[in-house]
Symmetry: D3
Subunit: 338 residues, 6 copies
């Protein structure tokens, strides 16, 4: 079954130093374009759905390049507007072992997306056409106009019977001091509108200020997520727990909460090539499982495996097909196929 899913979100240019040099050492950069919305909708397009991006790009060489790149990913550009003058950029220097990766952002507040006027996007049309619309918490940090756009589109989607998906993603550096307090009302507004939410117990504690007497991460999750679901009337909540080891490997376990019950995936442990965008692969896996009517167990395993594969792929944007994810769900390490 193939659905129409739109994402409302910013497109950024990712400029990455090749290999393990720093910006001071190197003299070339590789670039791609990404963003939570780009990642989620292109992943869903790879899984056989119709992905649409709702965004604004500048009318210049950067905007052109972003536009081509998004088309290449199989995302429909129908709701991409042109205007404004800036595209958000970030520079990525790869860490190695004990040396951390470093991200340097520039220029996000003035981007075409973040300066887009109210009434630019055809929200009514989008709402009636789409089966799902995806929103990301990062965008809430931007400004009132962006937040207003998010609210209008979410309301229109709900009104038209579509599913509102909200990813709680929180970036401390964007909210500044006392960020959680500033952020809470904006997050709550989206949670009240959302049918499905990506989050874990940390978001409940820090953003929503919820308290728990439990100590372990898992117990906190089991305590808090049902309370979140109830308070904001959210039918589905899903997310991951991650552990990071030296020597470039991570462990990941996904969960999904629906109709009062939790389902966890196995703990997956694997080598990591490119960690950015792996959360969006999890989201797209959950959405695909729900659309396909997979069991909760299959859904959360599919999503966790999708996320695992996204860690092995260059760039922010997941590239696995359904067939590849299903194969990896049963896979043990094997030789070259030829």
């Amino acid at each position: 079954m193939s659905k129409k899913i739109a994402a409302f979100g910013e497109v950024m240019m990712r400029l990455q130093v090749p290999g393990y040099e720093s910006l001071s050492q190197a003299s070339t950069l590789n670039y791609t374009f990404s963003g939570t919305g780009v990642n989620v909708t292109s992943a869903l397009a790879r899984l056989g759905h119709h992905g649409y991006l709702i965004t604004r790009l500048p009318e210049n060489a950067l905007g052109d390049a972003a536009f081509s790149y998004i088309q290449k990913l199989g995302i429909s550009p129908e709701f991409i507007k042109c205007g404004g003058e800036q595209l958000g950029l970030y520079f990525l220097e790869n860490g190695y072992g004990p040396r951390q990766s470093r991200v340097t952002y520039t220029n996000r507040q003035l981007s075409s997306f973040n300066t887009a006027p109210i009434d630019l996007y055809p929200f009514e049309e989008i709402a009636v056409t789409m089966d799902m619309v995806h929103f990301c918490g990062i965008a809430l940090a931007m400004n009132d106009r962006v937040r207003e756009n998010m609210k209008q589109l979410a309301e229109a989607t709900k009104m038209a019977g579509g599913m509102v998906v909200f990813d709680c993603n929180y970036r401390p550096s964007l909210w500044g001091k006392e960020g959680y307090e500033k952020a809470k009302p904006h997050y709550e507004r989206m949670l009240y509108l959302a049918d499905m939410v990506m989050m874990n117990e940390k978001d409940a504690r820090w953003i929503l200020g919820m308290e728990t007497e439990k100590e372990s991460q898992e117990e906190q999750l089991l305590d808090l997520i049902p309370r979140v679901a109830k308070k904001y009337s959210i039918s589905t909540i899903a997310g991951t727990h991650r552990s990071i080891y030296p020597n470039h490997s991570h462990s990941l376990r996904g969960y999904i909460f629906q109709q009062g019950s939790f389902q966890f995936s196995k703990m997956l442990t694997f080598s990591v090539l490119d960690r950015i965008g792996a959360g969006d692969a999890f989201t797209s896996g959950i959405l695909h499982g729900i659309i396909q009517g997979f069991s909760l167990e299959k859904t959360v395993t599919f999503a966790a495996t999708s996320s695992m594969l996204a860690h092995t792929v260059v760039g922010d944007t997941p590239t696995a097909t359904e067939k590849e994810i299903l194969r990896a769900m049963t896979m043990t390490a094997t030789d070259v196929e030829r």
Copy 2:
């Protein structure tokens, strides 16, 4: 002691996406030229022997480039014919951790090698000049002309007193449905002509249809290989068992069977950079050990170490010298030498 060894086999162009991108993500390819015969004879040339390749290349830019590349490897081009119009190609996308490598072949049946006429190659001259001639099972999958050429050359070699070496290499994708049944008579013909064969118990079971009541891989080997040696009157059989672990490491153990007795190498475990061609490094190590009159134990250890080093080298073609292999046989991990 330096010997003359020819290999009859196809040269293919390997086009590899650099790094870990897919063909859809990248825009450049690295290319080299290889093939079982190329790998075995160039490895033997590095070990101090005279390697010759018996093949046909197209008279165009691809054939020119392949010819230069083969010369660079130190293989004598004396028996390389020009003609036909195509060179076989394969594209290689590197996997990472749980994401598998992917090989895409094109265009092999129409290659200059696979369309070469009978009577093209001077088999009589080759047979009397060479000490050994190497054949690979992959070529049996091609067509009657190729198989006829293999048979004629193997017979001429045997007649002239040279050693016929046959590698059982089987590629399921080339034989299609009921492939083992189709392949068996062709493999048997080569086995009856061969003095030395590269294989393991899987080949005996699947290609030759032999049965065994043993369960473990090693027991099956100990049961089946002596029966193969007897049935087809083969003096030497050798091969490897491989285990593959997550995190890019493999284990490898070689065996050799001669005059009724088995000899195994230690199990070697190591990081893998490029797995393709490592089997050919094992073959060349066995041949070198036999030529040099190494003990069976030294021979199989030398071959397994040669194969291990080939996993650490870019490209299909082994590059280690005898000195490097002997040093690695005694090596523990060490610091930079300078």
Copy 3:
């Protein structure tokens, strides 16, 4: 005014040695995907129209990469079928001054496009949806199935009131000996169906076997093209004359013939970076001019300028926007704009 234009044609992978090395000297290749249909429809998409490609791609890594690339160009993949096993490839080595560029083709007859069955493509649906459908003479050289597909689609298009565009493009190497005689009936069939044809006097003389007593290229054109238009009832014929100079510069003059009268562009002289695909840029310029209702003079100048700019762009596929072409029509050499 924005129209829907489809092209029926093969997609090929272009593998180009970077810089000026030969395949024997180099070890990397840059690759893109192209074809007459790709070039014409992506150029029209850049000019604001809806481009569709009617083709078949293999279901493997090469087909995936081609598919992504075509999407990147803004071409709608709606009529792209998956199936078959091969993609046509060509290798390009850049010449320099007196040393010619060299193209090496592989494997075209077995490509997914050239082995596509009759009844694969929804010709009726295409015919009623499209305003124009573009065909290229190169495809006529392939096989009966391709030719039959071309005929059916052209007939359906004509029946549905769409415009049939035919580019006479003739590749001697594909037709072999006595190629013109073999080709003539197939070309004539397309000419009778075509509303608009890209050709010049050489095509009339060699493919159609028409005779003229005129000697200069221009006089022959003036003599033969009206006779072609009349004989095959073609409303519009257009094409170019090219002169090539040492030191990497070419001259180009376009013409268009409609309703009994010729219009020529100025002779344009310019440095050439990448000559391949420049003819398709001319075609797309003519089509755009006709769609927009430009005067004949503006149309042919627009098309010639479009072609000139395509010579300055890396890759086969034109990238200029209408604004860039219009500016180049009035441009004199200028400093960096900043």
Copy 4:
């Protein structure tokens, strides 16, 4: 004789698409750091002087990389301050023949330099240490704080007996509509403070609104420059006239006006590899000639040759030594030296 020369100006990151691809076609960028002040002081450092840059860089990976790059050029970082959060960036896509180069700027107003507070830089200390201080008109377009900083430093320099050098460089895109009117008072303030000015008749006409009845460029220059010198009490004025031809070649002629008399260089014609920064090479040549006490004729020829060589060098920043410039002044085309 070696002098101390400081420049007050912004450092920008230049991100250039390699070869002739567009941002949409490519996936890598080469980057360097430059700016008028960087170019002039590093050129003077190559000519044997002590160059200092007065600027502010952000404390992040971009600022670090810029800092390293400036040190590499031999510029003293003594007066470089750290602070703010942004570095100005520009993207450069190379044109080819009739296809123009394209520059896309981002994010300049918020750069560390353009947001630096008043009283950040130790102007008194700089003024008494430096022999010359260089200012660029581009910076005048930024904001009041930048302009105030420029005025304070120029006044302090004049007071301390140093030479104030002002380059009239005007970027229309930075001033917007009615830019000349807005710009004029700011330019005039700098002209009244300057001892030496880089400009030509166009600056006099458009920025200063001066009128002339002369028609040719040269006559206008001869008419207007003495009037500028007189009105603003400027001892030396210098500049260039440029002509641009197809096929990547330019012509350049320098002039200098001092004590009532003009001196022109020969017209130099040459192939152009990288045009950006060539004006700064002219400036540095004039300053070097004046410092060394060259004759006016030698000074202007030296400066024009310096500028010519800068057109043949990758990147914005001139790299020629005095020896190389002097040799090029007498050079005819020659063979490889070895």
Copy 5:
């Protein structure tokens, strides 16, 4: 507290085959410039001190490039002389797993540094300006002139009250047969002059010929180092023990001996990207700790962590800031910071 530290030493060009190819397989090289002195002083410059290099570079393109590179690292070029004709080069081929890295040196004896005349460098001026001067044992292997220069500078430094730092670094290939015997007197002369020495028990045993009845590496260290300190009157001795594991990871433990007591760092285990230059990072960490008055424990931990980070950085030259080292001292593996 910021100090002035000079290093007397050779600059070499490092030419590294990218990736894991051999020189025979590849066709490109990456190059940087380094040397013990370069590494130590640039690391100290990154830590906030003033680093000076005392060396001689040839007046040609190689010397120019080395000079720019050293400036880029933030080292003051004040005491770099120009002259001579050669720069030492070394080629580096990366190993992989069981395949060792290979270094090929060329041409060192004739380098500008090793042929520099006595009296070239202003030792008196250096001695009175610097707080510390660093010497490396590798230079002792060169020739009498180099050794004489070292002795003069060390004596002048001692006389002027500066700290003489000597790294015992010994390269067997440079001393040839019976190297230790040849080397001993030269090392002893430097040890008598040194205030601080980098070494471990192996240097004591092999270079200085000291004997011990202890068997473990650690016991030998505890036995020998105090005897060295006493015999040569050295106030501080420091060094490392290293273990090397398969799969690209090393363990490192640093020690420092001062005023009769030892202090050891924890054993650090980490993935290794580029091992060369990591010893110099340890040295610079020790010097920084001493300058800052860190406790012995903090000093040796800081130095070992500095060395660990240098293993994760491309090139010979450490790049970590004090902040980065301090953070890594407390770090557990963490996610991307953004």
Copy 6:
């Protein structure tokens, strides 16, 4: 007709900065291996002959890489000896227009070739096997051992009835002050032994000190070459005149003098990509013409065209086949062939 031709000469590693950057600006190098002997014999191998190189290479990674490279060119390595420790290197920075290319040599006197002992090479065996042996004047500048080796091989060749070919190539930088006087006796010794010599009137004037009253280059040639031929009893003399224009184009005219008469080629004018090695392409063309019994006119035209094509090829080593040269002899500029 296919002949055996050996060349006695040094192999050098060429390290070239890609594009137009300087060593100070760039961070990567491309490398190949070349030398007059390499170029001449590989060019003859491409023309269908058997080329042999007589040289010595070091037993290290550089020697290995050179050896592979020479094999790739199709040169027989039969007479290549291993030993010594150094390989000569040179760095090449490409000029652009008025900015000259720059070559920086290192380390040549100590190279394996230049330190090879007398009696290393099997001169008798070479002399009786080869049809021609080629010597280059550059090697005369090295040292007595090299010169002695040259003399012995030339004498043995003459004795055995082979043809001695001598290229007068003179490098001023290698002979130092009063170089011509030092060089003359060595050149004369080779001239007396040579059957065929590559030179022009400048060599006669400067190296041999001959005088002429003629003024133009051509008249001097017509006057001096016959006198050289007579004095030293040389049957064939050939060479070129070159003119260099701005904008990367050269003109070349070849001449040949035999049995008292001169033959000149047309003046060829063409764009230049890589000038180095083009003289060796001329030499190989002359040798091929003589072997094939071409007319003098065809021989000199063939050689000049061979040289022209070598200017359009990356690297020192000519790559054209006979077919390509013959086609270029009749070629006018043409379109892509496909």
